[in-house]
Amino acid sequence: MTHIIVIADDDDSVRRLVEHKLSAAGYEVESFVNGSRAWDRLQTAPVPDLCVLDVMMPGLTGLQVVERMRDDERLADVPVIVLSSRGREADVLDGLESGATDYVTKPFSPRELLSRVRLRLGEE
C-alpha cells in the first residue's frame, strides 16, 4: 500500500524539492503552500501516514498545525517532521514540545529527509 504524505511549505523550491524526492521514492505526496490549506486537507479522509511541515508559514504555522493535530483523535498519532531554518536549541525544543516527531533544519539533505521519513513510517 502506498503511503500518503502531506507536505506544506510556502517556499516553492523547498516544496518542489521535497515533493520530488518523496514521489521518486514511491510515496503519494500532497503538497500545500501554507499551513491553513494543509490543515483543511488534514480534516478530510484519508488520514495521511506522515506530514512534513515548514515551521514558518503565513497564517497557520507548522507548529500550530502540529498542535491541532495532537488535539484531534484522528490525527494524534500521525508522525510529523518539521522543517525550519531556525536551528537553535530553543527552536528545536519548541518544535518537539509542540508534538513534532522530528525536526530538520534548513539547509537540509534531501537524502537524510527521506531516511527520516522511512524511519518514521517504520520502513527502516
Binding site: 523550491s13 518542489r16 524539492l17 534548513k106 539533505s109 537524502r111 537524510e112
Partner: protein
Amino acid sequence: MTPDYAPPVVSQLPQPTAETAILAGIVLLALLIAVAVLTLAESIYQYRRDRRRDRVRDDVELALLSRMSEPEPEWDEWVASASEPERDVARELLNDYLRTVDGTERATLVELVRELGIFAEARETLDGGARHEKLQALGWFALSGEDVDPDRLDATCTGGNDLRAAAARVLYEADHPDARGRGTDLLVGDGSPTLTTHGIDTLYRLYETDPSPLLDRAAAEGDEWGLSLVVQVLSVIRHTGLLAQAADWSFVHEHTTHESPSVRAAAVRAFGPPGWDPTFRESVPVERLLADPHRNVRRATYEVLAEWGDDRSLELLRAALRTEPDQRSRLRGMEALDDDQLAGLELGVPTADDPADGEVVTTLTAAGSTTETSVDAAMGTGVSSAAATEPADADEAVDVAVDAGNQSVPPDPTAFDRALAWVRADRGATER
C-alpha cells in the same frame, strides 16, 4: 523694437526663426520616437526571453532534481545539450537550491555550477568587474563553498566594507585553512572603519568555536580601530566568549575604562558568557562597574550579573537596584532577572500616601521615545521635555539630560517597589 527693460546681452542674441524652431521640433520628435522604439523593442525582447525561459523551466527543474540525487549526474552532457534559455533557468534554480540543499546533493549541484562556467566567469569578474558584479561573483563562490586564492581577494575585493565582508565570507564558506587570519584581515584591516551586518556575522562565524585568537588580535591591533569597530568586535566576543575563559581578556578589561560609555557597556556585556567560571567572575571589577557614572554601563553590568546568576552576583545586583538613581536602568536590571531571581527581591506595599515620584525624565528622540515614555507613563513618573544641548549624537544628548535630571532629584524610596511591581505585572500579562 527692443524693450527698455531687456538686458543688453539678450538683445544682441540672434532671434530664432520659424524654420529653426520647426527643425528643433522635428529633431526632438525623432529622438522621442527613437527612444520609444528602443524601449518597446527591449520590452518585446525581454518578454520573449522570459516566455522561452518559462516554457523550459519545469523541464530544467525536473532535470536538476532528478540528476542531483544520481551518483553520476553527467552534467557535462546535459549542459552541452542545453539551450541558452535552459542554461539561464538552471542558473536561477541553482541560486535557489544551493540555499536549500545540503549534503551529497549539494555537492552535485556545485558540479553543475562549475560545468555551466559560472566559476570561471566569476573569477574574471573579480579582476575587472563593477562592484555589484563582484558582489554577485563572490555570492556564487560563497554559496558553493568554492575556494578562492586569498591573495586574489586581497587584490580585487577591498574597495568597500561590503566587498570585504563578502570576500571574507568566501574564505569561511570554503573552509580555507587560513580563513580566520585572512578573513579577519579583510574584515578589520586598513580602511575598514566599521563592519556591515554581513561582516559582523562572518566575524562571528570565524570565531564561533574559539574566540581566543580574536581576543589576541584585538589586544594587538585594537588601539588602531575606530569606536564603531571596537563596539562591534566586543559584541562578537560576547557572542562567542563562552569557551574563552582561559584566553587573554586584557582588551576587554581595558575598554571598561574607555571614555565612550558605548564602548564601556559593550566591554561589560562581553563578560557575560564565560561567567559560569567562578575564577573568571572574580577577575571582573564588578563594584567599579556598578559605580560607573553612565547608566548604560550600569545597565550592562546588571544584565551580566543576572546572567551569571550566582549568589554573590545576585546580592550585588539587588543592592545596586535599590540605590540606582535611574528608574529605567532599575527596570532593565529587574527585567534581566528570571522569575526565581526576581522572587528574591523584597516587595514593599505601595500606599495611597506615597509621595509623587519626583524623578524627571527627558522626552526622548523618536528613536526611543515611544517605548520609554510609555514605560514612564505606566510607572506614573513625571515626564518633561528638555532641550538637547550640542550632542555628539541624539542618544548622548538624552543621556546627559537624564543624568543631570537624576542627580538633581533626591532618591525616591518607593521607586524600587514600584518598579518591581511593574515588572511582575508585565510578566504576568505576557504569560496570559
